[in-house]
Symmetry: C2
Subunit: 101 residues, 2 copies
């Protein structure tokens, strides 16, 4: 779960989780921007994301620009992307569909 | 409250609120980084900041990097910094001392 993935596996995981993308070609980060109907809705999402992150002991970088929330994930210790990053991102997708769905 | 301040007034306000600073020389943004004892403490702070922002109808850009929260303020409509930015920043200071104090 916490071992660095080969590029081919990363590409496969991104194809399966197609709302997320590499921050840039060759980046160690995956990211997604989430849009909300209101600022408070965005904040509610961040609160849920925080709970999931604590439970998984894996924390994204979070930026809140009014109604847009950007999440970024990487695995520092592995020096790249791991299964944990993709598992965490998948949980955030679930949270989003619950908050904004 | 919502008129752009002259540079001299901005300097005066920043001297009074000395935990905040211009993002860079001549910037239209003021900013501050807040450090917390835990990630969930940082999230609790952001939640309070969100309530204050809604009440003042003035929203900061927010970045959460684990236990560090960066807030940035400007007044888009005025095209620069206004009294509202400094009044809002002062409220955030109050929230911080309540959450982490």
């Amino acid at each position: 779960m916490r071992e660095k993935l080969e590029k081919a596996v990363v590409d496969e995981r991104l194809a399966a989780l197609n709302t997320w993308s590499l921050e840039e070609e060759g980046s160690k980060w995956i990211m997604r921007k989430y849009r909300f109907s209101s600022f408070l809705q965005a904040i509610a999402f961040v609160k849920e994301v925080a709970q999931v992150s604590e439970a998984m002991n894996h924390h994204p970088m979070i930026a809140i620009d009014y109604r847009v929330v950007t999440l970024r994930l990487t695995s520092w210790v592995a020096g790249g992307l791991t299964e944990l990053d993709f598992a965490t991102a998948a949980k955030f997708e679930q949270v989003y569909s619950e908050v904004e769905g």
